[in-house]
Subunit: 237 residues, 2 copies
């Protein structure tokens, strides 16, 4: 075939966001091989020739971060979502080994699931606050910045927040997640009104008592599928 020589390496890189101790964090792994050995990088790696990008992302994330079944299950959900928002990074010189094109993935998981992981494999995979990242291999800083922008966009335009929280949560917990992602304080009255108006939540009959104050009502997401709140988009009459 005429173009036999023009072949590329294809990789996937996954930006996994979560909230731990009130901070937005991502998983990074310490590279064991050259290039950039010893530096931190996003989990990810080479796509096999007969493997879908989604499968490669799940496989690499599992291999490199050693995450458990629980986490993989969540990951599956994320894969469904993020096919819609794949990004490509393809600069000629982005990898010293040759021409490597990468496709980035965005994943969200909730803090509870995270804790299960963080104890198991801390040597290789660690959580880093988004505001305090180490020096990163390749162009991974750029990929992360892009993913963060996308996350901020998506959390306002879609219902993806369901991935950041457990199945039931208080309005305060939800607001807190938005505040952390958007890095901005929100007014609780307006937040609550707006979220209710969007109609993405269903109140449950349960409440959560925690500390010396009035118990909070628990909510759940109506849909645990990626939904675009498109009324906000079709702006022209």
């Amino acid at each position: 075939m005429q173009f036999e020589q023009n072949k590329f390496y294809l990789t996937v890189d996954i930006v996994v966001f979560t909230i731990i101790q009130g901070e937005l964090k991502i998983v990074l792994i310490k590279r064991k091989k050259e290039p950039h050995r010893g530096m931190f990088a996003l989990p990810g790696g080479f796509v096999n020739l007969h493997e879908s990008l989604d499968d490669a992302a799940k496989r690499e994330l599992h291999e490199e971060t050693g995450l458990k079944e629980v986490f993989l299950k969540r990951l599956h959900v994320f894969a469904d979502i993020n096919l819609k928002r794949l990004r490509v990074f393809a600069d000629v010189n982005r990898d010293p080994r040759g021409r490597v094109v990468t496709v980035s993935y965005l994943a969200l998981i909730d803090g509870e699931t995270v804790k299960l992981h963080a104890t198991s494999d801390a040597e290789l995979a660690k959580w880093f606050s988004i505001g305090n990242l180490p020096e990163l291999a390749f162009d991974h800083r750029e990929i992360i910045e892009d993913a963060l922008k996308e996350l901020r966009f998506e959390i306002q335009m879609t219902n993806i927040a369901y991935q950041l929280l457990g199945p039931k949560f208080t309005m305060s917990e939800l607001k807190n997640a938005y505040e952390i992602v958007l890095d901005k304080e929100l007014d609780k009255r307006n937040f609550s009104k707006r979220i209710k108006l969007l109609g993405i939540l269903r109140p449950t009959t349960e409440t959560k008592m925690e500390g010396a104050h009035r118990p909070a009502q628990l909510f759940e997401f109506k849909d645990k599928e990626y939904t675009f709140l498109k009324d906000k988009i079709n702006v022209f009459v």
Copy 2:
């Protein structure tokens, strides 16, 4: 290198939109080679190993549609824009020649530029109405549908409409372009108010007389750079 066998072909495909005779159209070319010889496909092709995706897109578009300098100049603008919205199509079986991953580009040009082209090379490259496409090679129909969705999103959220029109235009011409892209009638009073409110246009002192009626004021875009109208996005207080 361990992954030597896992190499991919990388292609770019370009969806070029324009408006001709009141219809939204795209360029398709008739394939001269197998696979899918004789079928219509998006302009595009293999990326060379030492070439950026943008350069490959410009090169392939020029090679396959024979477009002139005028057009290439516009294309350059489009390339700047659309790096932000690259899409990947990477299914395992999308091309019978092997594992081919493609990156899609979205381009807009104005009807005037188009006419220059359409006469030159009509055998191989043709304009097709978006509502009346022929059978398409590979997964190009899916790529086009994706590009159309993106176009409809972008025309409402950004100032990309400047690429669909000449340097100066009447409010009616602009409204018409929006109507064609969105496939929806718009109220001229509300459209005009909203566009003025967005502040992306500057009125000129010139007018356009055409037919037996009051002459129309000509406008131009303030910025001919991709601008996101982000006030519409940050929705939370």
